[in-house]
Structures are given as structure tokens and as C-alpha cells.
């Protein structure tokens, strides 16, 4: 087996298993055979067809996209900041998006606004606006020091987070909905949501995947990277823009889902090494599968009630990650 493609085989297998399970499992079980028949246009019962096409399939695709966005941008941020604790939310995407979403809920904007869904639209704009603000605070005349970015990110996040909680405490009506959103309650599942998400993810993933070499260089620090021929300022700007774009898009529709973006890149790194040209695409594929499995749990643990998937990613993800960490503890993977 070619060593280079072996990891891709593994994560793709993982993703396919996740997709099939995610479509099959729920209040009504649809057998994998039925799923395949349905997907390829063969006759299945009409209730199965409805569940398949209107509920399970859009949810599965949306969550897969969100998972890949979080894991892909998490991997990029860990590389960019050279920090194993970095996650996609480090420089304000989540807190900004949270503020935007909660704001839209509490001023009781109509459900749609200029033809867009109000909550995701405001969340998206607020996410990117917050990152831009962080970037402005962090940059110097000639560079974007990553320490500045982290610190500005923490400060701005703390500020927008406080504003969000302020909004939640001063009003009562939408508290549950807001909390659900902040914990990653994927509530806006539809084919049109997927359609809205796709262009941003396509652009962002494209950029991230070809940024692997630049991320490898950045692991040696800005000075060495420059001496080897990387325009570090430009590279950082492009990577931040692409990561923020995909994360903001994901957060807009799925809320704040924690842990996936932190853990998936580490698992990939522990198994398959430090080369970001591989970590990024493998995280994108693996992140999709990981979030799908978490979502299955979120749907079945308290069925028929549905948990916000953000709770499950941390509940199930943390022990899993600790286990992987123990297994890989002799490796110099970071």
C-alpha cells in the first residue's frame, strides 16, 4: 500500500461509515440497503423517502460540512499560531457569531431579512466583523505577530461574549433558543442552508488545502520562514481569511460546536505526522465524520428529544481524545 494515500483511505472509510450511520439511525431506522436504493433513485416506501430526502440527508450533509469546516480551520489555526490549544474560535469567530445570532433573536427581527435567514446572516457578518477587528488591533506596520492576534482575540472575544450574556440576561423570551444556539444546536437544517454554505466552504477549503506548505514553513517561526522565501504577512492574512470564512459560515448555521476543531487535527497529527499538506485535507475529511458520529449520539441519547450537538462533542470527544493522547504519548507529534 502506498504510504502516502493510506491515511486518506482510512479517513474516507471513517467518513463513509459516519454518513451511512447518520442517515440510518434515528427514530425510524432505515437500513443501509434502503439508503443506497433511495439514493440511486430506486423505489422505497414513501415515508422512508421523505425521511431520507427531507430530514436525514440534509442534516447529514450540513453537519458533515460544518465538521469539516471546524476541523480544517482548527488545523490551520494550530499551525498558524504554532499552538496546540488553538481552535477555530481562537480569534473571535465564535464570540462574534454568538453576539450576532443572539442580537438577531432578541431584537425580534423577522425570520427573514432581505431574503436571508436573519440569524445566520447576522451571525455570519458579526463573525467576520469580529475577526477583522481583532486583525486590526493585532497588526503592526510590517507584520501580524501571532501573539498579538491571540491576545487581541482573547480580549475581543471576552468583550463580545460579555455583551452576549448581557443581552441574554436583560431579556427573557428567547433565552432557551439563544442557549441552544450557543451550545451548537443545529436548528436550521435545510437544503437551502447547504446551498448557502457551499460556496464559502469551497473557496475556504481550496485555499486551506494549498496552504499546507506555507503552514509547514511557519512552524519554523516567521524569521526562518521569511529566509526560506515565504511572504509571511501575506500567507498569514490568506490563511486567517480562509479559516475565518469557513468557520463563520459553519457557525452561522450550526451555532458554536466546541472541541471538534481542536481535537480532530490532533488525532490526525498523532496518527499521520506533522506535515500540514496532509493534516489539512485529512482534518477536513475526518472532521466531517467526527461531527456526524457526535450528532448521532445527540439524537439518540435523550430520544425523541435532541441535545445540542456541541454538548456531545465535548462529552464524548474529551474522553476519546484523552485516550488517543495516552496511546500516542511516546510520540513527538507536536
Amino acid at each position: 500500500m502506498n504510504k502516502k494515500f493510506f491515511p486518506y483511505l482510512w479517513v474516507t472509510f471513517f467518513l463513509i461509515a459516519a454518513i451511512i450511520s447518520s442517515i440510518a439511525i434515528g427514530s425510524v431506522f432505515i437500513s443501509p440497503l434502503e439508503i443506497l436504493r433511495g439514493l440511486f433513485g430506486k423505489a422505497i416506501t414513501s415515508s422512508d423517502a421523505t425521511i431520507l430526502w427531507s430530514i436525514r440527508l440534509p442534516r447529514t450533509i450540513l453537519l458533515a460540512l460544518v465538521g469539516s469546516a471546524l476541523a480544517g480551520s482548527g488545523a490551520a489555526y494550530q499551525g498558524l499560531f504554532r499552538n496546540p490549544l488553538a481552535d477555530p474560535y481562537l480569534i473571535g469567530v465564535a464570540s462574534g457569531g454568538g453576539l450576532g445570532a443572539v442580537f438577531a433573536m432578541f431584537i425580534n427581527w423577522p425570520y427573514t431579512f432581505l431574503g436571508l435567514l436573519a440569524v445566520p446572516a447576522t451571525a455570519f457578518v458579526a463573525s467576520l466583523g469580529t475577526v477583522f477587528l481583532v486583525y486590526l488591533f493585532a497588526q503592526t506596520r510590517s507584520d501580524i505577530p501571532t501573539t498579538n492576534l491571540i491576545l487581541a482575540g482573547v480580549a475581543v472575544s471576552s468583550f463580545t461574549g460579555a455583551l452576549t450574556y448581557f443581552l441574554m440576561i436583560t431579556s427573557t423570551g428567547e433565552l432557551r433558543r439563544a442557549l441552544n444556539w450557543l451550545l451548537g444546536g443545529v436548528s436550521l437544517v435545510s437544503w437551502s442552508a447547504i446551498g448557502a454554505l457551499l460556496p464559502y466552504l469551497a473557496i475556504g477549503f481550496g485555499v486551506l488545502v494549498i496552504s499546507g506548505h506555507a503552514l509547514n514553513l511557519l512552524q519554523f517561526g516567521d524569521e526562518q520562514a521569511t529566509q526560506m522565501g515565504l511572504d509571511t504577512r501575506k500567507a498569514k492574512l490568506i490563511i486567517i481569511a480562509a479559516s475565518s470564512l469557513v468557520t463563520a459560515a459553519a457557525v452561522s448555521f450550526a451555532g458554536i460546536i466546541g472541541f471538534v476543531g481542536l481535537v480532530v487535527p490532533h488525532v490526525v497529527r498523532i496518527f499521520w505526522g506533522a506535515d500540514y499538506r496532509r493534516i489539512i485535507p485529512l482534518s477536513i475529511i475526518g472532521g466531517a465524520g467526527a461531527l456526524l458520529f457526535a450528532d448521532i449520539l445527540a439524537r439518540v441519547i435523550l430520544a425523541p428529544q435532541e441535545l445540542p450537538v456541541g454538548i456531545v462533542t465535548s462529552l464524548a470527544g474529551a474522553p476519546f481524545f484523552l485516550w488517543v493522547l495516552r496511546k500516542g504519548r511516546n510520540l513527538k507529534y507536536w
Binding site: 519554523f220 526560506m228 499538506r277 507536536w334
Partner: protein, 258 residues
């Protein structure tokens, strides 16, 4: 080849380099000496392009480095930095391949030629057997050879080394500098190397530039620069200089008391 004209550099009010002038020839090893804080590293960093705020001109074959973008500069100048921070999880091969950055397209694709050049660079520094080992498992001397190979893979005619031997033991110091000398000859590299050890500089440099307080105090062959009076003044410590018993170089012996 490499020409430094009226180069000065300072942080706010603190002047680190004052009006430095010198020129190097193709295939020459220029040793940069000087006490701690004399500006050796700063000079190297100015030449390598990571301190853009200097005044004066640094030019290569008549072209100012300030007009070069990062990629073009990296095709001319490679650097072996001082105490380079190295991510431990990369393999030696992955590290050396990064030296090919100035020749890789925006998709980041590494060609067969890049691989061959990386292999031959590892071979030249006698580290081919390390290629699949991760950096974190290598010894100090091995790491330094990998970084040297990475700089070689950049295929640049000028190589800057900033105290490459500072963390190495006697054997590895000698091995590394002999290697640099050999590589300079084989690849007709122009080498600018900051060194602490006067006797190593006497042994391996064709010419020596002595920096004191950011000023170029002396420039010339080891015999011309490494003189007792010049060194005593530069380092504020009395020294004796005698003929090396085995080589045609000066041998510098610090005196034991002031």
C-alpha cells in the same frame, strides 16, 4: 558578489550597526567576529532581509536586496540561523524539502527535481541516513547538519551562518566548519559566517570582519585582523597571538589576568 554599503541599523535610540562597508568575493568565506552585542547577528539579519529597516544599501551583483521580493531573495541568500527553533515533529527530509520553497509553485507541489536536490543536500552533509528521522530525536550536531542541508537545498549562491557552532562540542564544531569550507569550495558559495571563537575563525575564514559596538573595526585576512593590539582593544582583554604550531594561521591566547 555581496556588497554592503553604509549600512546602519538601530532600534529606537539604540544604534546597533554604524556605517558598515565591505564586499565579498565569490567562493569566499568571510568570518564576522566581535564581542557579544557587537552587531554580528544584526548584520546577518539585515543581509537576510528580515530587518528591513536598515539604512544604506545591501546589493548582490549590483542589485539592491531591498528591491527583491521574499522569493527572489531566498533564491540568492540562504541562512543557517542561530539557535534555530525547530518543530520536533518534522522529519529531516520534510525539513530539507522546505529549503526548496523559492522554487515551488503556489499549489505547494514538490517535484522530483526538488526531491533529488534535497537528497543530494542531505548526502553532502552526510545525513542521508537521517532523512526519515524526526527532528526531535536528533542530536545537536545532527540538527545543525540538517539545517545546513536545508540551506544548501535553497541552491542560493550566498550562504549566511549565524554562530552555527555555538551549541556544538569540539568534534562537531570542527566537522561542521570543515563541511562548510568544503561546501563553499564545491558549490562556489559565498559564505558569511558569524563566529565567536577567534581560533576557529582564524582556521576557517578566508577573511575576517571585526565588529565592535556596531562598527567595522578591521577587515582583512586572519593575519591582518587577528593581532594582539586590535583584539585586546576590541574585547577589552589582553591577548597573545602566536604562530599556530600546525597551521599557517595565528593562534590567539587570552591572558589569564588583567
Amino acid at each position: 558578489m555581496l556588497k554592503i554599503q553604509n549600512v546602519s541599523f538601530g532600534y529606537n535610540t539604540h544604534q546597533v550597526l554604524r556605517n558598515i562597508n565591505f564586499e565579498t568575493q565569490k567562493g569566499e568565506i568571510l568570518g564576522v567576529l566581535g564581542p557579544n552585542g557587537s552587531g554580528k547577528s544584526t548584520l546577518i539579519r539585515c543581509i537576510s532581509g528580515i530587518l528591513p529597516g536598515f539604512s544604506g544599501t545591501i546589493s548582490i551583483n549590483g542589485q539592491s536586496t531591498a528591491t527583491l521580493n521574499t522569493v527572489k531573495r531566498a533564491r540568492w541568500i540562504s541562512v543557517v540561523p542561530q539557535n534555530a527553533s525547530l518543530p520536533s515533529a518534522f522529519t529531516a527530509m520534510e525539513t530539507v524539502l522546505l529549503g526548496r520553497t523559492p522554487y515551488i509553485n503556489f499549489l505547494g507541489q514538490i517535484s522530483q527535481l526538488d526531491r533529488e536536490i534535497a537528497c543530494s543536500a542531505l548526502e553532502q552533509v552526510d545525513a542521508l541516513e537521517l532523512s526519515e528521522r524526526v527532528i526531535g530525536e536528533l542530536s545537536g550536531g545532527e540538527k545543525q547538519r540538517v539545517i545546513l542541508a536545508r540551506a544548501l537545498a535553497q541552491s542560493a549562491p550566498i550562504m549566511l551562518l549565524d554562530e552555527p557552532t555555538s551549541s556544538l562540542d569540539l568534534q562537531h564544531q570542527m566537522k561542521l566548519l570543515s563541511l562548510v569550507k568544503k561546501l563553499a569550495k564545491e558549490n562556489s558559495l559565498t559564505v558569511v559566517i558569524a563566529l565567536h571563537d577567534l581560533n576557529l575563525a582564524a582556521r576557517f575564514a578566508d577573511r575576517i570582519a571585526l565588529l565592535v559596538n556596531g562598527e567595522l573595526k578591521a577587515l582583512g585576512t586572519p593575519w591582518q585582523v587577528l593581532k594582539a593590539d586590535i583584539l585586546a582593544e576590541a574585547y577589552s582583554w589582553p591577548v597573545k597571538v602566536i604562530d599556530h604550531p600546525f597551521f599557517d594561521t595565528p593562534l590567539i591566547l587570552p591572558e589569564s589576568v588583567l
